[in-house]
């Protein structure tokens, strides 16, 4: 779960990492009140995604009137499909230098990795691609945490004159990374302003698997993926018109790929997981078929723990509510029983993933 910038900065402040003075507001007039107090301000869209600057979601204002105007403009926009409901209003700090500092997980090394670069403020992935030598990297042993010599070395690579301040900040950022189960803790840019190091931006991505040991405000309430999560399923919305319900992420991706290979476009990805039960398949079918753009639904189950007859019972139960054609493929545990139950209904059956993908595309066209 990606935290909003203002939430990340509140955490930074608690660990005494310097951040600009400021507050999130939901109303453009409040931005004016803030600007009266702070002087020149930066108004930043609060959405949990990158690329806000390029989308015009970060603007500066030198008067309260200008702040109101610009806050209103940003509050009306959407960035990568996410409506901006909040802006962060902060004192404007002119950076003398911009650097990059980030901690993430190196899957191959199975350890945290700290990355630092004197080229801050811009897209770090671009630097990583085009001039990887400009990024200083260091792995940390998760059992010992970061050593002083390590944070010193990273700090030297960034700015020898201010290395004391930076080294201290790196250790704090690592503590946040570890304490909050981050998959990413990033400061871009980390700025030098009037000989002081300040985190002008803050990005924290929290491991969804570790949310049980933290308290963050629920931000997915009411969305399809939020509902799916409550039922122990995983949902991703896509752009096409074929609803996809599959047990297991790998098989789900394979099914989506096959739909695409055969000329169809998946509308979504609903992974009911290995071990899916009747309640889950019913909820999944209701959710997926409820979307207006869905023209046909494919259900692809390979039963191990999941029993095909139980899946069939769930499908039969919900099918009177479903307005679009349905293609079902059942394999594995109790597959014969499941198929027999469905044969009596007006549901198209398929014996392989590929056949199911072809049939659902056909039915989607005629619907």
């Amino acid at each position: 779960m990606m935290l909003y910038e203002h939430a990340s900065k509140e955490i930074f402040a608690r660990y005494s990492i310097p951040v600009p003075a400021g507050n999130p507001v939901t109303d453009a007039d409040e931005a004016g009140v803030m600007a009266e107090r702070l002087g020149s301000v930066v108004i930043k869209a609060q959405v949990a995604t990158g690329g806000r600057g390029k989308a015009g979601g970060i603007l500066t204002a030198s008067t309260p009137q200008e702040a109101v105007q610009k806050a209103r403009r940003i509050l009306g926009m959407s960035i990568k499909g996410l409506p901006v409901k909040k802006v962060l209003v902060e004192e404007y700090r002119k950076p003398d230098r911009e650097m990059y500092l980030g901690i993430t997980i190196d899957r191959k090394a199975r350890r945290p990795i700290i990355m630092a670069s004197t080229e801050g403020g811009i897209d770090i992935e671009e630097i990583a691609r085009n001039s990887p030598e400009k990024i200083f990297r260091m792995h940390i042993n998760p059992l010992t945490g970061i050593h002083d010599y390590q944070s010193r070395r990273i700090a030297y690579s960034l700015d020898r004159r201010n290395s004391g301040q930076i080294s201290d900040l790196i250790k704090k950022l690592y503590r946040i990374f570890s304490d909050y189960d981050c998959t990413l803790a990033e400061i871009n840019p980390l700025a030098l302003t009037d000989s002081v190091i300040v985190a002008l931006d803050a990005k924290m991505d929290i491991d969804d698997n570790a949310l049980f040991r933290h308290e963050f405000p629920e931000e997915e309430e009411g969305t399809l993926s939020g509902i799916a999560k409550k039922y122990g399923m995983s949902y991703v919305e896509l752009e096409g018109d074929i609803g996809c319900i599959v047990n297991g992420a790998g098989l789900a991706m394979a099914t989506l790929d096959m739909i695409k290979q055969n000329g169809g476009e998946p509308a979504d990805f609903m992974d009911v997981r290995a071990g899916a039960n009747e309640e889950q398949i019913k909820t999944a079918l209701r959710l997926v078929s409820s979307r207006k753009n869905v023209k046909a639904v494919i259900i692809n189950i390979f039963g191990g723990l999941t029993k095909c007859d139980e899946m069939a019972r769930g499908i039969i139960d919900v099918s009177p509510e479903i307005r679009v054609p349905l293609v079902v493929r059942l394999a594995g545990t109790n597959e014969e029983e499941g198929r027999k139950m469905l044969e009596r209904l007006n549901i198209t059956l398929a014996s392989s993933t590929e056949e199911a993908a072809r049939k659902v595309i056909e039915l989607g066209h005629t619907y």
């Binding site: 491991d207 991703v236 790929d257 993933t353």
Partner: protein, 289 residues
């Protein structure tokens, strides 16, 4: 013969009294797995399908001397169960649990480096050697004894491929799911090394997916192998920035898309199938069956 386990492997089930733990213990016993004990703190003294339950792995290790362990412990306690198994000196630890915090897994893997243990998983279906033993949750009936090795990051997709192989007359030497999480105990390369050395394996199917660079990282080794490898990578239609079910299946930093992986594998001269059926067809072509 197969890799890692055989008929004689003595297996301990950690989390044996839970819903999934007991259900899968029954299935493994039916398959013929030599389960010698189980662990659930506070439940020592009872039996699950005739298997004695202990309060701690240490007691179980003293009493029944397991050589392998399978973990069904809930995510928040799973790392502890792995530490307990490592400290007990258990050689092979298969962790089925899905949803373990990635920081926990990094600590376990760092700890593992100074031990004699190997971890398969987490978030995996485990390992099956047809005719010998099964540690994990793969369906019992789909397997058939033979000489194809399978190593996969997926669960149900692996079952699908095993099923197509078996129905098409191709048996397996061993099928291994290494797990769908970003941090896993055993890599593709480590599994490929075992298959390369295994006299019972003639060819290997490698099933990858989006996220990370595990597929690219195995290219150098595959090129050195004497045995043919057919790869399959899913997630071509997955968008970037979104987790596709598996915690590890997310395209973020460069190199993680399915197309990049397929291209890298094919550029190195490795055969890549386009669907489970296609993968099996290509294996048959290569082996001239």
């Amino acid at each position: 013969m197969g890799i890692l386990i055989d008929k004689n492997t003595r297996v301990l089930v950690q989390g044996i009294t839970g819903h999934e733990g007991s259900l899968q213990t029954e299935q493994m016993l039916k398959f013929g797995t030599n389960i010698v004990g189980g662990v659930t703190p506070g439940k020592g003294g009872i039996e699950v399908y005739g298997v004695p339950v202990f309060d701690s792995a240490a007691e179980a290790i003293d009493e029944v001397k397991p050589g392998a362990s399978v973990i069904f412990v809930p995510p928040r306690f799973a790392a502890d169960a792995m530490f307990e198994a490592i400290d007990g000196g258990i050689g092979l630890i298969v962790c089925i649990t899905e949803g373990i915090p990635v920081h926990d897994m990094m600590r376990v893997c760092a700890y593992l480096e100074n031990s004699r243990s190997r971890i398969i998983g987490p978030n995996c279906p485990g390992i099956t050697v047809p005719g010998e033993s099964k540690i994990g949750i793969m369906p019992n009936k789909i397997h058939r004894k033979g000489d194809i090795g399978i190593v996969s990051r997926s669960g149900t997709l692996t079952y699908e491929i095993i099923d197509i192989l078996s129905k098409g007359g191709l048996g397996q030497s061993a099928s291994v799911g290494i797990g769908g999480d970003p941090i896993i105990g055993t890599s593709f390369v480590e599994m490929l090394e075992l298959f390369e050395k295994d006299p019972a394996t003639r060819a290997v199917i490698l099933v990858g997916e989006i996220g990370g660079t595990a597929e690219q990282d195995s290219i150098d080794f595959i090129k050195r192998m004497s045995k043919p490898v057919v790869a399959y990578v899913v997630g071509v239609s997955a968008p970037s920035g979104k987790t596709m079910g598996h915690a590890g299946a997310i395209v973020s930093m460069g190199g993680g898309t399915a197309l990049e992986k397929i291209q890298a594998l094919e550029n190195a001269g490795i055969t890549v199938g386009r669907s489970p059926e296609d993968v099996v067809k290509r294996v048959k072509n290569i082996l001239e069956i």
